[in-house]
Structure formats: C-alpha cells, structure tokens
C-alpha cells in the first residue's frame, strides 16, 4: 500500500498510447518497417501500460483486436472504457484502486482476469465471462463466503486466488472452496490435492446437495421455458400460434361484458359449452392444417435452395476448372515470354497471351450468364409454386374461419331465442329463477336485450375477423419477403461473381503489362 501518491495522475491520451505501442511493437528490421509505416491501433494485439499512474481508463476504443491488456500498478478507480475490446483474452488490473467489478459485460472472450490488490468487497457482474479460466482476486476486501457460490457458474474456472481477503482467514476457507468449486485445480497458487477435495466434499455434502438440487430445478425450469418458447416460435412461423386451444374463444369473451352476463341465463351455459367445443375443434383443424402447410412450404423451400446451391456449385466447379487450366498455360507462357530473346516473337507471344486472357474472360462470363438464366427460370418457377401454396393455405384457412363465423351466427341466433323467451317469461312474470341484478337489468325491453346480444355477437365476429386478417397478412408478407430476398441474393451473387471475374482478369492482364514494361526497359 506504499503507493507513490506524490506523482501526478496521468491521462491516457494519444501520445501515451502511441509511445507504448511504438515501444512494444516489432524490433529490428521489422521495427524499421513499422516505423516507416506506422502502426494502426486496431492492429495491436497486446498492450502494456503499467506504472503509468493512470487514473482513468480511456481512449482504448480503437484497439479492436487487442487480446492482452496490462493496466496493473496504476491508480484506476473504476473499470470503464473497455466495451470495444471484445477480443480481449487477458486482462490485468491488479494493484489499482478498484472498488467494484463492473464494465466487463462485453468481454466474452476473457479467460484470464487479474484484480489482485484492489478494494473489491463483492464478486459479481462477471456473468458475461463464460470462458473465464483464471481469476485472481487476492488482497481485496471480500468478506462474505457466499461470494464463492457465485463462482459456481464458471464451468471453465480452474485457478482462483483469494488470499489476503477477510474470507481467507476463516478456518474453513479452503474446505469450503474445495467443496463448492469441485472443478478448481489451483487455489492461491497451490494445487488442490484429491484427498483434500474428498474431505471437503464429505464435510459439505448436505448443503451442496441442496444447492445442486436448487440449481437443477432452476436449470429444468429454464429448459422448459426455452422449449415452450421454441414451440411458440415454430407455431408463429406457421402463422397458427395459439390456435391449438381455447385461446381464441377465450379472447372472444374476454372483452365481451354482455356475453358473460348472458351466460348466466338458464340454458345458455350448456349452449355455450357445446359452442365452445365445436369452435375449438375448428381451431384445432386450422392449427393442424397450418402446421402441415408450414412443413410443405419448408420442404419446398429446402428443395429449391438445395437445387440452387447445387447449380451454383456445379457452375463454380466448371469455372474453377477453366481457371486452373488457364493458370497452367499461363505459367508456361509467362516463362516462355520471359525467356524469349527475339523481340518479334515476344510480341506475337504477348498477343497470343492476351487473346487467351480475353477468351478466359469470355468463357467465364458465358458460364455466369448461363447460370443467371437458369437460376432465373428456377426462381420464377419457385415463385409461382410458393404463391400458389400460400394462396391455397389462405383459402382453406378462410373457409375454416367461415365455419367459425357460421357457428357464431348459429350460436347468436340460439342465444337470441333464449333471451327473448326469457324476456317473455319475465314480462309475463313467469320467471321463477333468480337472476343477478345486472343481468336482470338487461331484460327491460326487447331492444335492450337484442342490442346486448348483438353487441356480444359483433365483438366475437370482430375477434374472428382480426385473427383471420392477421394470419393472412402475415403469411402474405412472409411470402413477399422471401421472394424479395431470393431475388436480391441472386443479384448480389451475380454482381459479386462478375466483379470477381473482372478482378481476376485485370490482375492477369496487369501481370502481362508489367512484364511487357519490364521487357521494354530491358
């Protein structure tokens, strides 16, 4: 703790970084080159900034490819400014004044972290460091043994140092760590022997088992959730999510005040039950049909992609073959030109060679054009088929939905009948059953009750329409997106290939040109 506080804190500015980079860069001949050219910060792999009296980490955002960073023996108080260094594997922040672990959430590749001799009192915020192998937290202020349980989540952790913390004074310290971190190999720079591990396990078996049980439960829950989410995702892709149950039906009645009121009427309960059953069956039909159609579309898409891939591969193979043949010849002719001494024959050879180049270019371009034509045809065919498929799907879903609507209408009529009957009974005073007050208030006159039943009906129809619309729009937009993407990809591919061919031919041509120049100079 005998830090030299007389020195003024320094700022991590450009000069400091440049100096450090220059000093730590390549040596000797390579160093000269490096000096000539300068080194870009984003190419630096390792950086050492120790004993610089740095107070604040700053200006490191350019070092994108940095893998090793040493910032030890400074007076840094807070971990910050490291967000961009995602490639970092090795981070040394020992002998600083850091009080809390933070700002490491983007360093997913970090394997070795040293926070030795700081003022940290709690281990946390390390969740992102899934590859962590070595963690040094000695000489800090960690006092609570429970911090160690937090470290159980790092499956790759093998080395840990915690000496010099209040925790380490506990007599059970070593045993506790051994028991709770069974994969650990080195603790406080010493190897943990197997005997020790066994002892520790026996001692803490009970609590560890409990912990494990809890962890397992948690894990299972997470997995469950994951599976559910995936399933829903799958259904969504088929555009029939939540149609495999009463969800739609329930939602119809969720906002329907009158409907729920009317359901208390005698006879409506049974009617509602029967209606619900039928409705759910249709929903299930839609759901199953949707999944089936989804599979069909997927198979269609897969075969299409496969065929396109095959075609492209084959075409590429042909192109490669052509280029390989050309290259063989190219080497020979270049050598021949080089060794030829007579000027006239050089010229004829050069002419011959450039003819070869043009021919290669033509051949490659023809191949590409051929492929483009073939693919266009295939894509058009696919487009037709997929649109047909989607159209069929929509049509069938719509007819099923119409069945739903029929059901609703039917139900509505029945309900209306019952309602009017009851109204008549009430008017005649024959109603002997007790009705809740809010329900009874509907039966003042015919208009009210008809309106109420009508409103309920309208809401139901609206819900069904909405669901239908949603499905149809989504499936259509999916289709257009897919087709757009296919077209765009193909265009991109074509451009890239043309560019590639041009580039290659240019390169070959330039080689020839340089040779010519060289010859002329000679």
């Amino acid at each position: 703790m005998n830090r030299l506080y007389d020195m003024e804190p320094r700022v991590m500015d450009d000069d400091m970084l440049k100096l450090a980079v220059g000093e730590q860069g390549p040596r000797e001949e390579a160093g000269q080159l490096a000096k000539q050219e300068g080194i870009l910060f984003k190419d630096v792999v390792s950086l050492q900034l120790d004993f610089q009296n740095i107070l604040r980490i700053d200006n490191l955002w350019q070092f994108e490819s940095l893998q090793k960073l040493q910032l030890d023996n400074n007076i840094i108080e807070k971990i910050e400014g490291l967000e961009n260094l995602t490639r970092l594997v090795w981070l040394d922040l020992s002998f600083n004044n850091i009080e809390a672990i933070e700002g490491l959430d983007t360093l997913v590749n970090l394997e070795d972290l040293s926070l030795f001799n700081n003022r940290i009192s709690k281990i946390d915020s390390l969740d992102a460091l899934v590859k962590l192998q070595v963690l040094s937290l000695g000489n800090n202020h960690i006092g609570n043994m429970m911090n160690i349980i937090y470290l159980r989540r790092f499956k790759a952790l093998r080395t840990l140092s915690l000496s010099g913390n209040p925790v380490a004074e506990d007599e059970d310290y070593k045993m506790f760590i051994c028991a709770y971190l069974p994969d650990l190999v080195y603790l406080d720079f010493r190897r943990l022997d197997d005997h020790m591990k066994e002892l520790a396990e026996m001692k803490h078996q009970y609590s560890i088992d409990e912990l494990k049980h809890r962890e397992n439960l948690m894990q299972a829950r997470l997995e469950d959730e994951q599976a559910r989410r995936e399933e829903l995702e799958e259904h969504k892709a088929a555009f029939v999510e939540q149609l495999n149950g009463t969800f739609l039906f329930d939602s119809m009645y969720a906002e329907d005040v009158e409907g729920s009121k009317l359901s208390h009427l005698p006879g409506v309960g049974e009617l509602l039950e029967a209606y619900k059953d039928k409705f759910v069956i249709i929903c299930l039909n839609i759901f199953e049909y949707g999944l089936k159609q989804q599979e069909k579309r997927k198979a269609e898409l897969d075969t299409f992609m496969e065929c396109v891939q095959e075609a492209i591969q084959e075409n590429q193979e042909q192109g490669k073959l052509k280029i390989a043949k050309f290259e063989e010849k190219h080497l020979l002719s270049l050598n021949a030109i080089r060794e030829e001494s007579e000027l006239s024959s050089i010229e004829t050879k050069i002419v011959e060679y450039s003819e070869d180049i043009t021919e290669l270019f033509n051949v490659l371009m023809t191949l590409e054009m051929q492929l483009v034509e073939q693919l266009e045809e295939t894509i058009n065919m696919f487009e037709r088929n997929i649109i047909d498929l989607v159209g069929l799907f929509v049509e069938n879903v719509q007819s099923l939905m119409a069945q739903c609507r029929d059901l609703e209408n039917h139900h509505h009529e029945k309900l209306l009948e019952i309602a009017i009957n009851i109204l008549e009974k009430i008017v005649k005073g024959e109603m002997d059953e007790d009705l809740p007050d809010d329900v009874r208030s509907l039966f003042v006159d015919k208009d009210t009750i008809v309106n109420a039943v009508g409103a309920s009906h309208d809401i139901h129809l609206l819900k069904i329409d909405n669901r239908e619309d949603e499905l149809v729009t989504r499936v259509n937009s999916w289709c257009t997106h897919l087709l757009d993407k296919i077209h765009k990809d193909e265009i991109m591919r074509n451009r890239k290939r043309v560019k590639e061919i041009n580039q290659y031919v240019d390169h070959v041509q330039s080689e020839l040109d340089s040779l010519e120049c060289g010859d002329l100079l000679d």
Binding site: A30, E37, D43, T303, C307, E377, T378, R497, E500, Y504
Partner: protein, 872 residues
Amino acid sequence: MEVLKEKVEEEEAAEREEAAERAERGEKTKRPMEVRREETTMTQEMLRDLERKLSEIEVSVPEKLLAFTKDTIDTSKLPLSYQSNTLKEEHLLQVADNFSRQYSHLCPDRVPLFLHPLNECEVPKFVSTTIRPTLMPYPELYNWDTCAQFISDFLSMVPLPDPLKPPLYLYSSTTVLKYQKGNCFDFSTLLCSMLIGAGYDAYCVNGYGSQDLCHMDLTREVCPLTMKPKESVKEEEKAPPKKYAIKPPRDLTSRFEQEQEMKRQEAIKAEEENRRKQEEARLLEQENAKTDPLHGLRVHSWVLVLSGKREVPESFFIDPFTARSYSTQDDHFLGIESLWNHKNYWVNMQDCWNCCKDLVFDLGDPVRWEYLLLGTDKPFLSLTEEEDEGMNDDDDVENLGKEDEDKSFDMPPSWVEQIEISPEAFETRCPNGKKVIQYKRAKLEKWAPYLNNNGLVCRLTTYEDLECTKTLEMKEWYQNREDMLELKHINKITGLNVDYFKPGHPQALRVHSYKSMQPEMDRVMEFYETARVDGLIKREETPKTMTEHYQGRPDFLSYRHVNFGPRMKKLALNSAESNPRPMVKITERFFRNPAKPADEDVAERVFLIAEERIQLRYHCRSDHITANKREFLRRTEVDSKGNKIIMTPDMCISFEVEPMEHTKKLLYQYEAMMKLKNEEKLSRHQAWESELEVLEILKLREEEEEAHTLTISIYDTKRNEKSKEYREAMERVLHEEHLRQVEAQLDYLAPFLAQLPPGEKLTRWQAVRLKDECLNDFKQRLIDKANLIQARFEKETQELQKKQQWYQENQVTLTPEDEDLYLSYCSQAMFRIRILEQRLSRHKELAPLKYLALEEKLYKDPRLVELLKVFV
C-alpha cells in the same frame, strides 16, 4: 413278359460274345437306354470291328500305381473289423448280391454294380459301410470348400488300375490317410465321410468323367488365382431430377452428325469384336485339338452334395482331385451309374445320353433312382406323403419284388476306424509338404508353412505361352515372416517388383514397388499411415523427384513434391548420405484447415529455392471461383545509399479476390516472408530426412531379405523353443517332485516286517524287537557310511602323499608339462580331500540327529504305536 424274354435273349448273346463284352459295356454305360434300343440291330461285324478298335486302345498304367497296392500295406496291425465281416455285414452282402443279381437280370446291358469291393485285407465290404462320417476337430474342415481343398492337397492322386472299370479294391480311409495316396474312389469316400460328418447331404458317385477330370489334368483350366475378381461396375444411382433442378444449357450440336459418328464407332467396334472372337475360336480349337478316344468310358468317382442341409441352395458336384465345385450340368461329368452314402445305395435309372444335364436328383423317386435298402430316412419323392408310401410299396413289388426282409434291414455301422488327422499332418497338408499344380499358362506351387526357411508357402508362375517356357510374372506368398512380407509380385517383363506387407512392419511399410534396390531410382512405397507419426501414405520416387502423400496431419499437409538438381561435382566422392542432392523446388499442398478462413488458409506453396522465390496459393472460398495468390521474391539488395533494403513493395506480388487492408502493409508482408523463410528451411530439412528414411528402409529391407527370420506364435507349442524349454522344465520339476514324494512314502519297516510271518498281528515282543532291529540297522548304516568316507579320505591322502614324494624325488628331471600335470593333480586331490573332510564332519554332526529322528518316527509308526506305548 415280352420285354423280359428279349432281355434274356440279349443276355445269351452277350455271353456268346464275351470278347466284346467290355466294349459293349463301356458303350452302354454311356447311354444305357439308348444302346439297348440299338443293340438289336447290332451285327456281328460291328461287334468285331468294335473289338478290334478297342484292342488298339492302349491303356497306359502309370508305374506309380504299383507303389500303392495291397502288398505295401501292413495288414497285420489292422483291427479285427478290417479283417472279417460281422454277421450283419454278411447279411448285407447277401442282400447286395441278391440286389445285384436282380439288377443284372433286369438290366443285363449295364455294367455290374460297384457294391462290395475288397478292402486292404481282401475282405469284401459294402461301399456304404466304408463311409465313416466324421467331424474333424479343425474349424477349417467344417465347410465343404476348405474341406475338399484339404483332401485334394493332402492326398496324392493315383490313377485307377483300369480307367474303364471301377477298382477291385476300396481301402479304408484310415489307410488312405496313412499313405497319403489314393484313387478317385478313395478320395471321394474320404471327402464324403468328412462332409457327412460336417452335416452336408453328401454322396459318393460312381460315374464317368472326362479325361481331364480322371487324370486330374488342369492344364486346360485357367488358374483360379490368376482370374481377376470381376469388377462389379456399380451403377451410380442417379437421383431423380429434383423439382427445381436447373435445365441444362441448350445443346447446339448437330444430332445427325452425332448419330453418324456413333454408327462409325460401332462399326469399328463390331469389327474388332469379330476379329477377337475369331482369334479366340482359333485358340480354343488349338487347345482342344486332341480329343479323347475313350470319351465317356472313363470311370470316375466324385461327390454330390444335395441341397437342403447346411444351407446349400443348389445341388452341386465336387471333384475330389481338384476340390473344385461344378454345377450338376457341367460338361466334365458324363454319366452316373450309382451313388451311395453311409446309409443307402442308389442306382441311376435315368438316361445319360446328355451327360448329367437332364438328371434329376430326387432320390426318393424310385423310377429314377433304384434304392438298395428300404426304410432309411432318405428323402421321399416330392409328392405327398401318403401317395409316396403307397407308390414305394407298389414299385417295390412291381420292379424288383424285394422281399420283406429288406424293409427292416438297415445299414450296419462302418467297419472303418475313426478317421484321425494329426495336427502335424494337418499343417503339413500335402505329402512332404509340397505340391505342384499345372494350370493353363500357369503353375502353382504350394508348401507347408515353415517348410521353406524364408517363409514361402505358395508360388504362382504365369506364362505367356501354353508350353510354359516364357515366364510372364511370378507371385509368391509368404507366411510367418518377421518382416511381415505377405506377397511378392515379380513382373518379369517390366522387371517391376512389388512387395506387399501385412501391418506390423517396423517402418509401417504396406507396399513397396521397385525395379532395383538402389536408392534414387524409380520406386513407390506405400505405408500404413495410421501406424506412422507423420501420417505418410505414399512416397513415390523417380531419379529426379520425390513425391509424398500425407493424411491426417495436424498441419494439414497433404502432398510434398521435391525436385532435385544434379549433384554437386566436387563432392561426388562422398556417399549419397553425406552429400544430398540439391533441391531445386519444393511444392507443398495442404488440406483445408477449417479453423482458418479460406482466404488465409494456404492451399499450396512452392519454394523455388534456386530463384529464391516463394509462391503461395490460398484455398478458394466456397462462393468464389478464384483464389488468393501471393509471390515473394527474396532479394537482399543494397539501395543507393548503401542501406540494406529490408522490404519493398515489389518483393511481394499478391492477388486478392477481396482486397484486405492489413495485407497491403509491408510489415505484414515482411513478417509473412520471414515465417516462410523458416518454413522453407523446415521443409528442406524434412525432405532431406525423407531421403534418409528411404535409404534406411532400403537397408532394412536388404537386411530382412537376407535374414528372413520367421516368427513363431507363442501358441505354437511345437515350434516355440522357449516355451518348449519352459514346459519341459516344468515337467521335469513335476517329475522330481513326484519322485521325492514316492521316496517319502518308502516304508523303512518293510524289510523287517518281511521276516515275520505275513498276515499275523504283531505281538509286543515282536514289536520291540522290530524297533530295535530297525534302529540297530540304521546305526550300522550310519557307521558304515562314516567308515566309508573315512576310508576314502585316507586313501586320497595317501595317494597325495605318494605323489608328493614322487615329485620331490623327480623334481629335477621333470618336464614343464609333467610339472603342470602334477600341480593340477595336487590341487584336485586337495579339493577332494577337503570335500571328504567336510562330508565326514557333516556326517558326524547329522548322524545322531538322524538316529533320533528315526527313533521318534518309529515310536509314532501306526503299526507299532499301540505296542510300544507301554515303554514310553
């Protein structure tokens, strides 16, 4: 009755013309039915003619035959069953005779049946009882092919004494095995015994075969080893065109021209085919020019295996001489007289005019196959059961009127002893462990393992011509070699040698093909790459290059090609090892390293060492058709100011499909170049090491060829000297242990008890006397022994003293040799005296103890203990 009468007449005619009988029979056997019809029209003239023709035929009886007659067999040691017949056998013989009589009566034009030839003891034995079904303890003999192969190897063939008649003698299989030779009947009897033992439905067949078959002549057959396994051209299943498969570009060539071209090609091909066919026909004619005058008359015996048992799908013949299997329609088999197994005997009643092609092997059909014994479990006619039964009976009565006694009669057990083959004999296989088979344009030689000290077990020589004078190539198979050499293939025309090795060669060698063992020549070595650390598969060499193929290396190297320049002149005196050829060019190729992006993963690098140039070609990305290239020119020049130029842009020419920024930097290029420089050194070193390895392997191969040591399995108790020694030592120890035990059980009282009257109980007085006598005797013995040692000791001392005296007297006149003699005698005598002294003292020490021990023992002796108890 008409037919019968006719037959009787025929019989009489046959008797009259006894001279012609043999010929007739031969003719008839070939086509029994046909001839019968013809014979009515046969005139005396024709018969005489036939007789004359037949007498012209010379039957050459090889001398070898004489070596295997009854005289050479020691019959005295054979068991009783060989020398006499049991009652049942006698009965059977009578039945057989009866059957034979009826048969000759009904079918007088056919040869007499081969029913009960004499065995080695001149006792007639029925053929079925000569078959002794035996399952051999060798797994190799469990299947018909290997079993037949074994018999054909194990026995040497002796032709029949009369090629037109079945033999008079049929020896037991044990005798045949003992002498390792036999005729076709011996062969097939033995094979049949073993096959039935192994569960096959096998039968011995007496019939007629072609000349090649009867003489075991394979010179017209193509050697099965030379035939190349037919390459089954696998038709690659063409997946049905997928829904979205692209349409091929339009074909713009003329269909008509194509057709014309096709036609032309076909015409040429047809012509060629024609010519080839003609050529073949001509050759065939040449080969088959010699026709056999005795065709169809030569008696042969082979084995028929019927389908059904042991999952045999189809009936087939096995020729026991060659161990080849033939279909029942084969041209070599010209007719069947009869067949039998260990249970019954069947006579063929079918017409053999078309060889065996039309024969139906349904032995349950009494029209086609006349059986000797009823009631054996032979396959019924393939009709329904009841009908079968009834028909059997009917036929029985109608055809031969067989008596009821036959029905209850079954085959007596075989008279032949258990067939045994010793493991030594089994391993040696061929007589004397050697066998030569001549095929068409090929010769096959076989040896027993360990017979040749270089491990050679088989050699196949193929010739260019039919006379076998010009060698085409040689194949030699080896076994049990320590260098794991398996097959040596020598092509005499190209001079190419190819050695094949089994896994386990110290250098993991698999195939080595070469023309000469000199280094730096054309050669190809293939390796078991999994056994090698460097994953080398193949190394090809020519005088100027070396190419290596690798697989499964962590650095993904797949190929290295080295071009060598001419050797430096000034160092020419040195050996190849110390003066490697300069390398001009090294080409290395790499597999794709999936951990690296394709455009940073080097696919090929070429070190042009002489030009100081390095060329790199990278892998091609999956969506590209061109690949990155880079060329480094290493020049160490000095610029105008005299500074060394480290790196200039023109030292690295690169083509990048997708230009990257960092690769443009000189620093990057410089570093890459430095790295490549190091790797070039490394590659050169590795190439040099490869050269050394070649030399090493060649040296090793030469040593191995010279030493050709054979390995001996630890389970081979006969040959493994070490284990044998160990086993013998163990046996010796056991034996000694046993002796000691016997000694311990020696009865020390026996001599004294013997003096007393036997069977009487000892009285106490007698017991006491017995004890005392025993002890006294022992004491006397001890004293005697002490005296003996003492006497010897004294004698030795005296002799020594005498010698010393003599020496002192003659010391002056002694020659050095005598002196030496004397000195050695002295030291020996001193040694003897010392030993005797020691013995004496030891005896003195031990004698009382021994005495006490005996006394103690006597007190405890169960015979005396009761009587001596009082005195204790």
